[in-house]
Assembly symmetry: C2
Homo-oligomer: 219 residues x 2
DNA sequence: CGGAATAATAAGGGTAACCATAAGATTTTT
DNA sequence: AAAAATCTTATGGTTACCCTTATTATTCCG
């Protein structure tokens, strides 16, 4: 396996795909939203990634990573999440900001640095957002949990991970203490995909929109 | 003062200029060598930097940073050298490699991260290569020392900094223990810019080419 | 002073990654 | 099945940064 020099853009797309594909293929339009480009641009890029053998694109269906693409993406994820741990645990940076800041550092990190960092941090297995950190060999236990949006009324669950990436969204959740480890009871689900009413540990009640609830993984 | 988003390339050029301008202007051709592009490309880039008000180019004389350029460059240097400290002191990465590895991290580092890192490291004043780390406000005490190449025969001096950037060069010096803090006696200088003979602490004698000796700053 | 070396400019190209607009293709909804 | 929505492709354009080759300008040095 050769160590090709992939562009920052390439890594961003691969990371987006691996983070969005819990089960099926990723629609190119969703991908475009995630990486903040027009669908046309995303389409072009998907072609380029296909030519490099990193993804498989089935027109009108979506994109999936190839084995090679998955390997690269896991590596990217490892770097990203190790930096998240460092920024949060050692640099004491605000929880909501670590994703964005780690994201920039990710591409600039050589393999030597990644492994030295992992050792320095004590080989953590999850990042501060609760997501698993792939091992150096690429192995990776996917998150076992369900989005909060699929939990039925009355159930009490524990947050295992928060999968959002935008700082605003993360800050919104942070302010409401919807964080890994918290115990939450779903009190009510408004009809027509309306917001969930949640009871938080202190007894406080919080309303959470469905699209936000999809980011919160619980067990 | 606006926080413009400068490209990685721009930052590289500015860093190269500030690191090379000990006294006079920097020749565009030498800059080209440093950043590893053709003189024509460097010339183009110098024009672009001039248009952005970062450098002042006097044809046939060289380039110098403007006040704005110097400010940006010091910031770049601060980030670069803080990472060098982290990589060396905490991640235990080989001395010769830290410049190159810190270089990639530099551009990806947001101001919040820079300052949190500085605090984490205990606000170090020099990097492992002996170079001063500019303060957060941009203030910066230039290195006081002379290149080893200008020391007269018979003198005993102490290495204060090693200004090389290429990993091969740094590794060559590392192997000969020409490192900050070492005491060196200049035994002989061969004619026609020939190599220097040096006596190292253990009594070992080492020959060092003139172009390498220019990187070694002593007092 | 005049030739050699060095520096700058001009002209023509290339690539990666984005954009907009518009025209087809396919899927989904009515 | 037709209309609507979504996806894909085509076309043409932009920016930043790099390249080569050739020409002109300046400086350095014998």
């Amino acid at each position: 396996m050769f160590i090709e020099q992939l562009s920052e853009s390439t890594e961003m797309y691969l990371k987006a795909i691996v983070e969005m594909s819990d089960r099926d293929m990723v629609a190119v339009s969703r991908l475009a939203e995630r990486v903040n480009v027009t669908p046309v641009s995303a389409n072009e890029m998907v072609h380029r990634l296909g030519e490099q053998g990193l993804v498989e694109h089935t027109p009108y269906k979506g994109v999936a990573l190839t084995e090679k693409g998955r390997e690269v993406a896991c590596n990217v994820l490892r770097r990203q999440r190790l930096w998240e741990v460092f920024l949060y645990e050692h640099l004491k940076i605000e929880w909501a900001q670590i994703y964005e800041l780690a994201c920039s550092l990710e591409h600039a990190t050589a393999p030597e640095v990644t492994e030295a960092l992992a050792t320095f941090l004590g080989d953590p297995r999850t990042c501060p957002r609760g997501n698993p950190i792939p091992a150096a060999d690429g192995s990776f236990t996917p998150l076992d949990g369900l989005p909060l949006s699929e939990i039925s009324v009355g159930k009490t669950v524990r947050v295992v991970a928060v999968n959002a990436t935008e700082t605003d969204v993360l800050r919104y959740l942070q302010e409401r203490e919807i964080l890994p480890g918290q115990e939450i009871t779903v009190l009510e689900a408004a009809p027509l995909h309306g917001p969930l009413m949640l009871r938080m540990p202190g007894g406080k009640e919080v309303a959470l929109g469905m699209s936000l609830a999809e980011f919160v993984f619980v067990k």
